[in-house]
């Protein structure tokens, strides 16, 4: 019995909890990408940099707040900075749309042109962000680190295995649930949200119904930027903020969005968790886990790993490519991907 509990705690601690937090971060990122895809119909390669930009503002705002002695101990000050990050990202993204994307929208440019334009935006943002904050690691976490630490858990339960839950992980999950709740409420229940779905469904008919295309696009960018800022800040809070990291996040985020079905918010969330848990569970070494639940003689000598962690990031791409080949419309998209 105790062995089984130990096994459960072990896998929760090393796979489920981190997977959940990572999944939340991917899901938030994928939601932003998928919203833009649904409304503007292109894959926004600059989304990773938007996350980075939001997180950067959060870092600055946190520093200013900290300097002025503002805090909400035991929670991290960054939560107070989040509104600034969201606002800043929204303003920046809307400015980008005004200066860059709007032109191509009016031209009704090809999807590929939009993708390349977004790559141009990605270049500019990548440079600007590094230029402003520098390429270094920035730590802006403060407050209580743990909800429960591994040591405390062991002392408390007397189990051999510990279970650590970081404050930032809890915040990540809670914020994600709130953000997603708000988003889904917005999309399903509000007039504006419904008009956005309508626009995503059928652009021409939406225009005929008096839905202002410009306004829908504006809202899509706003939501996408806000989600990006939240995702970026949470990621930076849970790990640490460094511009380069976000460049690497774009592909797993695309993978999440595509696996779920590009353009489907529900799919984006599901995709985020699928990618996150796949990465964690496929590269997890089950040796110790099996040690608890199997008789001693059955325990493998090796690490009992499906795939070395060297290939952790390849997991996302393999799932991505497999999805594209087997079911290009994604898991949660009824319409064909054409």
């Amino acid at each position: 019995m105790e062995d089984a509990l130990n096994a459960l705690v072990l896998i929760t601690n090393f796979a489920l909890v981190p997977g959940l937090a990572y999944g939340c971060q991917l899901a938030l990122g994928a939601l932003g990408v998928t919203l833009i895809f649904a409304v503007l119909r292109f894959s926004n390669f600059a989304h990773g940099e938007t996350m980075s930009f939001g997180a950067m503002i959060a870092v600055f705002a946190t520093w200013i707040l900290q300097d002025n002695g503002v805090s909400i101990d035991p929670l991290p000050t960054a939560l107070l900075a989040l509104p600034f990050a969201i606002l800043g990202s929204i303003l920046f993204v809307l400015a980008t749309d005004r200066v860059v994307y709007r032109f191509y929208r009016e031209q009704r440019s090809d999807q590929v042109i939009f993708i390349i334009v977004s790559i141009g935006v990605m270049f500019v943002m990548a440079g600007l962000i590094r230029f402003i904050i520098g390429p270094n690691d920035q730590v802006f976490t403060d407050g209580e680190r743990f909800l429960i630490s591994a040591r405390d858990f062991r002392d408390l339960t007397g189990l051999r295995e510990g279970l650590a839950i970081k404050t930032t992980q809890v915040i990540t999950v809670v914020t994600t649930v709130i953000a997603m709740g708000l988003l889904f409420w917005f999309l399903q229940k509000t007039r504006t949200g419904k008009s956005m779905r309508a626009y995503a469904d059928n652009e021409d008919l939406a225009t005929l119904s008096g839905i202002d295309a410009g306004r829908v696009v504006l809202i899509a960018w706003t939501l996408s930027a806000a989600l990006a800022a939240v995702a970026g800040t949470l990621y930076g809070l849970d790990k640490s903020y460094k511009p380069f990291v976000f460049q690497e996040l774009v592909l797993p985020i695309f993978a999440a969005a595509i696996v779920g079905g590009f353009g489907s918010p529900l799919g984006a969330v599901a995709g985020g968790f699928i990618i996150a848990f796949a990465e964690v569970l496929i590269t997890y070494a089950y040796k110790r886990f099996l040690g608890y639940i199997l008789p001693e003689s059955w325990v493998p000598d090796g690490l009992a790993q499906f795939l070395s962690t060297d290939y952790k990031f390849a997991v996302a791409f393999v799932i991505l490519v497999a999805t594209l080949l087997l079911r290009p419309s994604g898991l949660f998209n009824k319409r064909a991907a054409t």
Binding site: F14, D137, V245, T283, K287, R288, Q305
Partner: protein, 395 residues
Amino acid sequence: MKKSFAAIVSVAALLAATPGFAAEVKIGVLLGFTGPLESLAPAIASGAELAIAEVSESGEFLDGSTVTPVRGDSTCVDAGAATTAAERLITSDGVAAIVGAMCSGATTAVLQNAALPNGTVMISPSATSPALSTVEDNGQFFRVAPSDARQGEVLADILEEHGITEAALTYTNNDYGKGLADSIASAFEKKGGTITINASHEDGKGDYSAEVAALASAGGEVLIVAGYLDQGGKGIVQAALDSGAFDTFILPDGMVGELLIEAIGPDLDGSYGIYPGSDSSGAEIFAKMAADNGFNPGVYSPEAYDAAALLLLAMQKAGSTDPAVFKGEVVSVANEPGEKILPGELAKALKILKDGGDVDYVGASAVELIGPGESAGNFREIEIQDGKIQTVKYR
């Protein structure tokens, strides 16, 4: 001030092609300012530029010549761009020598394609790949970073003394990490120890939970982290502590620094490791100097200071900035005999050399050059106690 001057100089050189500034010696600082290790580069550059400024301001260097640094971006991911940047430093800016490059890959490319053909001397503060020991360098390439092979043996000794028989090992997935991990693993296993897992981690990623999960599952009394203290290495230590996977960490040279203690906090107490250095206070002095100049002495920042200092001292000793002449003096100023020189004492050293004396440059990282122009590998065994790096002994 110095940076902006450097910028003006480099651009002026670019645009106006003025080879002038006769009494001005330029030193190239070629590091990966953009790319995956971009966050390490500024502190390393600052280290080198600190030494350059010190020499320049002393007024003792080669009959009062001034020295200015010129930066170049070796990117770490693009050998082509690195070579071009080095080519620009050497042939257009006319640098007398180069501090760099940063990553072993870029270093090899620059050495073979720009430095060797042009006869320029390079001292890398950070390239540790064993492959660089055997590369054809015509006596023009040195490095003040310690050799990975030596470090592995020292670490294995320490592990044995601590009675460790099983250890997990993770390394940053580049030539430095991989080479170091291999040498640690083979040295430790020769002594009868077991490496339960030898797994890589990527720098520049945010999330290391999967890596730590694998390490934890493999088990071991301690975790050896052959990485960088402000890159993946820190992430691994943090994630391992957070999840309670390991309490004690073995920290090779790339991981020892105040930054790590600052970032991780008291949980790091009880971890131990090694750091290049002999019985000298160079590192502390350098740390203070860096703080006074407004930057954090990151990884390889002391080595960069030493690299620049060695180049300039060698020129002083040879009385020339001609690489063919002064390349022979690098080893002699770095090693005995002579007066020991610590950071901040470059003026003194220049004066001694000018008067025909000898110096034994110790510097911030206790430099001792051996064999093919590499650091001898004097190490300080350190242990972290009460949030401080305590030196246990020297090896």
